[in-house]
């Protein structure tokens, strides 16, 4: 099936808005085994829109159009869709009532301009939008089925999942459901993960399991997509594969599905009634900033301390100053122990970094020393990272949070990761 995505709107065309809707749609389709063949971006301009609709309608089997369903004069999707399909716009009484209820629930009066959102091309199939006033719809133009979606990301996401993907799967001759399972890992690159998971697709002998990766430094996402006749069957097929992925990627898995590393760390601390102190240098507060705003962090993150000056680091945790001390794992352990003691936290994480000298460049690196102190002990590791100031900073924050996760889960913290320099 030849699928296209057609994004509309001056904001996207001029680059004022980065087009994340396009990548979201394409990824989501890819996750269920549908691939996009062509993308088009045009502005809020009648002539160009019509040309784009007709071209896509002549090429594709299915087209997802994003944007242009709003109440303002520059929202033209319904009008041009009707023109391209050679039908009239007709007033949809049902959707108009839905909009009125939408405003009533919010104790507001619906502006007259919203009436426009209930004008749909004759014969269009309505695609429900339970969280907004922009009505999605489907319509044939040329030889393609067009699916019109709102530009507001959360409305698009829901309509895509609930309305459009099932229809596309049915059209592609592959009815049933597609379920996605995601593992987030830190420390292994895509090619290493690929070889660690060699042969995994064969665990579902009917060929309905697909393995994929998405790398976004410093994490790697491993995706399993399975097709089945219903959700129960999908879960049954996935269950043994999930167990095997956990076994093979093992300690490197930091989170699954919607979880995030910082959330996993926070929950592990909260579950045991523990609390945390964090001491940062070049990471500058970015480790604390990932934990502190989370719901529940107010009782767990006891204190974060940041300084680029080691003398201040010592002072902030009540240590005597140590002139000329080198940044070592042992020093990081001393700092972590002191931070734990001065804050009364059950756990303390210290991340000391000795940066290279000179201007930023791709070979610019840093020596990172990470220590974690608990009531029982202090553990530490070191690593050298390269790739410029930002990569070192981001990589050090990730490794530090991951060391904390490993400690909380009883795993070794010094396994070699692919991002460290040998």
């Amino acid at each position: 099936m030849h699928i296209e995505i057609l994004c509309t709107g001056d904001e996207v065309l001029t680059g004022a808005t980065i087009n994340t809707n396009f990548s979201h749609i394409s990824q989501k389709l890819g996750d269920v085994g549908l691939s996009v063949r062509w993308g088009t971006t045009v502005g809020d301009d009648r002539e160009t829109l019509l040309e784009a609709f007709l071209l896509a309608g002549a090429r594709a089997d299915a087209v997802i159009v994003n944007g242009g369903l709003g109440p303002t004069v520059d929202d033209l999707s319904q009008e041009i869709a009707a023109k391209a399909a050679n039908v009239e716009l007709v007033f949809n009484e049902d959707w108009y009532r839905r909009m009125e209820e939408f405003f009533t629930r919010r104790s507001r009066v619906m502006p007259a301009s919203n009436r426009k959102q209930a004008m749909l091309p004759e014969g269009a199939e309505l695609l429900d939008n339970p969280i907004g006033t922009a009505c999605g719809f489907a319509l044939d133009i040329g030889k393609a089925r067009f699916f019109f979606t709102p530009g507001v990301p959360r409305e698009l996401h829901r309509m895509l999942d609930e309305q459009i993907i099932p229809r596309l799967l049915a059209r592609s001759g592959r009815p049933g459901v597609s379920v996605l399972k995601r593992f987030h890992s830190y420390g292994i690159g895509e090619s290493r993960a690929d070889s660690m998971l060699a042969g995994i697709e064969a665990l579902v002998p009917d060929g309905s399991l697909k393995l994929g990766f998405r790398a976004h430094y410093p994490q790697l996402e491993t995706k399993l997509t399975v097709r089945a006749s219903d959700a129960d069957e999908a879960r049954r097929k996935l269950a043994p594969v999930e167990v095997e992925v956990r076994r093979r990627l093992g300690n490197f898995i930091v989170a699954e599905d919607e979880e995030k590393l910082e959330g996993v760390v926070l929950q592990a601390l909260a579950r045991r009634g523990a609390s945390l102190a964090v001491v940062e240098t070049f990471t500058g507060g970015s480790i604390a900033a990932r934990i502190a705003p989370l719901p529940g962090a107010e009782t767990v993150l006891r204190r974060g301390v940041v300084s680029r000056d080691l003398a201040q680091v010592y002072a902030s945790v009540g240590m005597d100053t140590m002139p000329d001390a080198e940044v070592t794992p042992e020093l990081a352990e001393l700092v972590a122990r002191a931070a734990r003691s001065v804050t009364g936290a059950t756990h303390a994480l210290a991340v000391l970094i000795a940066l290279d000298e000179g201007a930023d460049r791709i070979e610019f690196g840093g020596n990172i020393c990470i220590a974690i102190a608990t009531a029982q002990e202090a553990v530490s590791r070191k690593a050298r990272m390269l790739g410029g100031r930002e990569w070192v900073r981001i990589g050090a924050a990730e490794m530090a949070l991951d060391c904390l996760r490993r400690t909380l889960q009883g795993l070794p913290i010094d396994e070699r990761v692919d991002f460290e320099k040998a």
Copy 2:
């Protein structure tokens, strides 16, 4: 002039990579008064690439193609360009030597696969890439001039600025230069800024000045673009306008051009040999994290402290605990004074936030109290912000850094901003 952008590559088409190159190109062209009419995205597939090249060549006057110039087998731009233009690929000796030098300078041997990058369509005009091995080139396909650019962002950016935009301006019959001046402000929305700058374009009577905005919460960017026969003339035209924009937007301007708010704050502190302590609660370290990684911060950012627990905040700055104290500007001043005293910093910034209760929602807000202590005094302000947890957090961090900037520049810190709830 009808301009199109044609992005190639499976990574972009599948959504694995968010297409920031598209928005960069479109914005840059918009900044010099050229507008993009159509965007196309296709994968690394011969048939689709050829179709996309021919379609764009039939529609446009100029097409910027991004990606597909690398050394691997899935990099197809030169091959398909030659096919679409009905010419042969020919070996470019000059570019081959440039690549060899490129590798030699890095003490590496050039892999044989790179030879492919020196194969260009016959008659193509070379577009220099001084920082990579992907050779840009220009070529006529259909009625359009095609400009082929590398996918690596920094290589694309430079080629666009130095090679392509001047050629496009010449082709558009508007020789000369276009100069962009940018002001970054905090605290005024786009519509307020628009009315504050009413009539500003008329300060350049020949109509060559264009005013534009780009809002990215919580900052607003105001852009002045002027066209002139050369850079000197552009600067002469801009000079009085810049003075007037500074006068009208006044205290709200936080930075200009490539500067950032945190950089302006760091420089203002460094210039007077000052140092800084930061105390954060719900902002969680995100204020410190904007300053700490900057070159030079190691001697200025003396200490940052983060806690979601006020008792820990007091302890970390050596204050006696104050049970049941309300979050007020006065309390923030006490904390800032104490932080200054315990760290020995010349300046201390304290940001206390009382968050609303309950689940995150669009009406979720926080009461923000910001104080700055110096040797002479302590100043403070409060504000209520709404919009959900993330908006409150981001807005509070911005307002706090801006209050610090205002203090360092001798400006009032309590001017009303558009993002606070009346």
